[in-house]
């Protein structure tokens, strides 16, 4: 006996339903049976679970250690009456630096060649002119100036009196030494003393361990380079 196509479809559908029923009914029955045996919430014994975390060790605070102050060496006094005062060979000839005589070098007043738009390379930066101060944008973010600033060590004592803003200046030479200092704005409180100490310290440091002025900052050596000292609030 052979089945036609319609009969075969009916038989296959019935078979599939039978297999599905055979598999799912026991599963559902077992699940319901398990639920039926679940205890009521009030009968449940609660076991608290927690994760053991190692207690962070509490570290005792450590005592502040103040960096010892640099020894203060007296300057400008010779304790040995018979000994000649020390001569600083590096000190420039002040007469040549601050000559009051009029400068007759007319070349310094010459303008560039108007026919040469590219101009000529600058080979000299000129003499120090004590009537000029500082310079402009070239200072921004410059590492050499940043180090110069850091070497100032302007640290007024905690109880220093005053809130003035003294302005002190240095005269740099190309080899990085400081030949002179002055105060443009001199105040009468402890911040002035702190600023003077900072400039004196910088002068000593840079004369003992000069850091040559980089080429692009050489114009600095032709005028006073000034610092405005203020207290960080």
């Amino acid at each position: 006996m052979s089945m036609n196509e319609g009969q075969m479809h009916v038989v296959s559908i019935v078979g599939a339903v039978a297999i599905f029923a055979a598999l799912s009914v026991p599963t559902l029955w077992l699940t319901n049976a398990a639920d039926a045996h679940q205890p009521e919430l009030r009968d449940v014994t609660v076991i608290e679970a927690s994760i053991a975390v190692r207690k962070q060790k509490v570290v005792q605070p450590q005592k502040q250690v103040r960096t010892p102050d640099a020894p203060v060496k007296p300057t400008g006094v010779n304790h040995d009456d018979k000994k000649d005062p020390p001569v600083d060979p590096k000190k420039p000839d002040e007469k040549s630096q601050h000559d009051d005589k009029p400068n007759t070098d007319i070349n310094r007043f010459q303008h560039g060649d108007p026919d040469d738009p590219a101009g000529k390379p600058v080979t000299t930066v000129g003499d120090f002119n004590g009537s000029e101060k500082g310079f402009g944008d070239v200072t921004k973010g410059d590492p050499w100036l940043g180090q110069l600033n850091a070497d100032l060590r302007f640290t007024p004592p905690e109880i220093a009196k005053g809130d003035s803003v003294p302005v002190g200046c240095i005269h740099l030479t190309a080899d990085g030494k400081i030949v002179d200092t002055k105060f443009d704005v001199k105040t009468d409180d402890d911040l002035q003393t702190a600023a003077e100490a900072a400039l004196d310290g910088l002068k000593k440091l840079r004369n003992d361990h000069p850091v040559p002025v980089p080429d692009h900052l050489l114009p600095l050596t032709t005028k006073w380079l000034c610092f405005k000292f203020s207290v960080t609030k």
């Binding site: 605070p61 007296p74 600033n149 905690e158 002035q192 003077e196 900072a198 610092f227 000292f229 960080t232």
Partner: protein, 433 residues
Amino acid sequence: MLQIQRHKVTILVALMVGVLAAVPGATRADPESNGTVLEVSGPKKGAYPIAVPTASDGDTAAAKEIATVASFDLSVAGVFKVLDPASFLDKTLGLDIDPQKWKDVGAYGVVKYKATADTIEFRLYEMSKGTTPSLTKSYPRKGDTRAIVHRWCNEVVKYYTGEAGFFGSKIAFTAKGKGTSAIYAMDFDGANAYSVSKNSSTNILPAWSPSGGQIAYTSFMRENPDLYVAPAGGGRPTKVSSQKGMNTGASWSPDGSKLAVTLSKDGNAEIYIISASDGSIVKRLTNDKAIDTSPAWSPDGGTIAFVSDRNGGPQIFVVPAGGGSAKQVSTNGSYNTTPAWSPKSGKHVIAYTTRDGGTYDIVTLDIDSKTMTRITQNEGSNEEPSFSPNGRAIAFARAGQGVFIANADGTGKAVKVWSGSATGVDWGPAPSP
């Protein structure tokens, strides 16, 4: 595309400029002076260099003592660095100075003086003001020269800090002998020590009254550890509290009318407030099966700190003086005891003894900011701190060595002011001006 890159470059440049501007002390042009001046900024920090040269004219014997006492006073004030006389260049006689020579040795201030048979004249110079003195005082030579110098140094501290100095104040402590211990008091610098308790029994835990006129302490002179109050000069003591068991650890209320004490009348040590005049119990502050002891009354009167082992090892707790629940404030280490409040107004700082390894050290804790500062470290075993009247210094006992004072900000080394076996240090109130 090019526009986007331009935007990126602009933002990057703006960020770099912002960072540069934010860095303290950054090098940048000064807009006020057409970009001609570099800005240098730094915080105020560190000690103030001051010189106290020994006067070489006038009463030279007194001059040496004045220089010694003034140098010590200013060196422990917590704000000065007294310069080494060996470096001094200015030999100007009398009361004048050569400012440049003092600047050359790093001095910001100079104390000059002249002692004669009748007076001692002092001058304070600031180098920034040249030869004009910032402060001048003349004292008649009546009584102790040290006391005159202390008064002058208090003026110097006040000039710079606006706070009263503690020179001339006194420190009380327990001096241990063989089988006994006595209550002693002395000048803050260790001078003029004398016995307060004047008996051969065991006397412990002295506490100055706010006026400085009395000292409360516990004595075993009647076998039980009872609480007494005696005149600070050492007169006959009055028994204030003689409850069964301990009557110890007295701490005065700011108005001097009450005492916070540890009583164990019911078997366990608890904190109580009693009347300072008759010892009657005003309030029981703690009620815990743990041991509660070492009360310390805050300068504003509102809080009492104490030690309790209710959470395990001994820790510092605070409780409202009017009563309430106690709160643990110390969290470092497993052993913290003997709290003492800083007298600085507006601050809630406690100094206490902490165990670190095998030794004990002094730390301070700002209860509000939780900031801790270590006062001693690797310098023996240090216990029982007490603040100076202005809060700038802390006195404490170093086991087997004596009484020391140190800067309350944790800087510098502690200075010994009394040698011997001492405990229970308590710094008295500020001296009268």
